[in-house]
Symmetry: C2
Subunit: 229 residues, 2 copies
DNA sequence: CGTCCACTTGACGCGGCTCAACAGCGGTGG
DNA sequence: CCACCGCTGTTGAGCCGCGTCAAGTGGACG
């Protein structure tokens, strides 16, 4: 199956690949070539895309939706490493040796994921070296992001960690309104807690505190208004 | 200045570059080419190699010694991200946009560092695409390492974090003896604490506890014997 | 409209941080 | 060579914040 969604959503032949940073440096013609080896799959919310039990050596590129990347540990806890969204890729670790087996990627909403097999992606890298350079760039910024998370977990107070997360989400998932920035939360309370290395109860209390202080306004469980100062 | 140490330590023309994973896929001839554009510098223990004040856009490759990579934060605390040693490289983030300005790299002991300027390294990547692939591989494993650290900081107890660090160092810096594995610590107590997101006092107490439990034996401040069970 | 699960809120205990005093070590200068 | 000083590490006491356990609430979704 070729990338139906891609083709469908851009009937004139231009593709959704323009939105994927990894392929940004390619010419239209080259993109067409890549397009032909892409296979798209749909995943329902909650479905596992990568899981220790079903091994799939592919590069995955998000075409629609959001996913979370998790490291589960032995006693049932989960560390959420990333929330990835349209244009992001994952699965590259498995393609370059060094795959740390127990990584789980799960769809946060109904998602469309384009996949390229290991063999074909390696051929692609040989054929279009620009992709390799772009890949280094993206991995470099992901590394920076992980380093920031390490810093946050290592030295920031819980209070700062939680508020920093809200500010990060306001940039990525926020929309400006008159009263402030309205944020569509990609994660539940428990998931946010699992990202910040704290418990669900603690994050509840912190959010309640910020609301008392007039910094934010909680709207249901899935939206936060970050109030202008 | 060309890479004096490299040339000196291998008078017959073979180079120390064989020990650098990044250049492992190159032929001898290609290594010679790379050798010619490398500039080596010596750093004293405690000297800064990368620092916000002295900007240097280079790729750095460790030829001798050890360095620590730090993220300092506004209120004086330091998060130690990595301890790098012979064959490792750093500085690549600054070469691919996205440089998070406030990273510090400091020599843990007298070190010899080979540098390649940004322009020359980019030319190298064009000319020898194998290097780009190897670079992706190394960055992928460094990413995995950071993800492990995030997991550790996020969900492991302090007790487990400290002991895991000892076990990690036993693999990297340990030497087998009759009584157990003798570890040459690359970091001081305070630095280990800054790596694990805890305080110097806490790590002292944990180590004392492990010694009481017969798991380790403290030898001065710079060695630990990890006792066989 | 009803059910259920995620979220909220409270009480309590423990672990690691803070502050403080002291010991050990290395470096420096007389 | 030793005396001094500063820095790092150790140990103790007390406190505070987050985790845990438990009960109650509300929103999301069928």
């Amino acid at each position: 199956m070729t990338c139906q969604t891609c083709l469908n959503s851009h009937p004139k032949g231009t593709t959704c690949m323009r939105r994927v940073p990894l392929f940004a440096p390619l010419s239209l013609e080259e993109m067409g070539e890549v397009q032909r080896i892409i296979v798209q799959r749909e995943y329902k919310k909650g479905e596992f895309i990568i899981h220790p039990l079903k091994v799939m050596q592919c590069l995955f590129i998000i075409n629609k939706g959001k996913v979370k990347v998790i490291r589960p540990n032995s006693d049932g806890k989960e560390q959420i490493l990333y929330v990835l969204t349209v244009g992001d890729f994952f699965g590259e670790q498995a393609l370059f040796g060094q795959m740390s087996k127990d990584i789980i990627v799960e769809a946060l909403e109904d998602s469309g994921i384009c996949t390229i097999s290991k063999a074909q992606f390696q051929a692609l890298l040989q054929q279009m070296p620009q992709i390799a350079l772009k890949m280094i760039e993206v991995m470099s910024s992901r590394l920076t992001k992980m380093e920031e998370l390490v810093e946050s977990l290592g030295i920031n107070s819980v209070d700062k960690r939680v508020f920093d997360l809200i500010e990060e989400y306001s940039l990525k998932f926020g929309r400006k309104t008159e009263q402030g920035i309205l944020i569509q939360l990609p994660l539940s309370r428990e998931e946010m807690a699992n990202h910040l290395g704290i418990t669900r109860e603690t994050i509840s209390r912190k959010l309640a505190k910020y609301q008392d202080e007039g910094k934010i306004k909680l709207i249901g469980h899935k939206q936060i208004l970050l109030i202008n100062k």
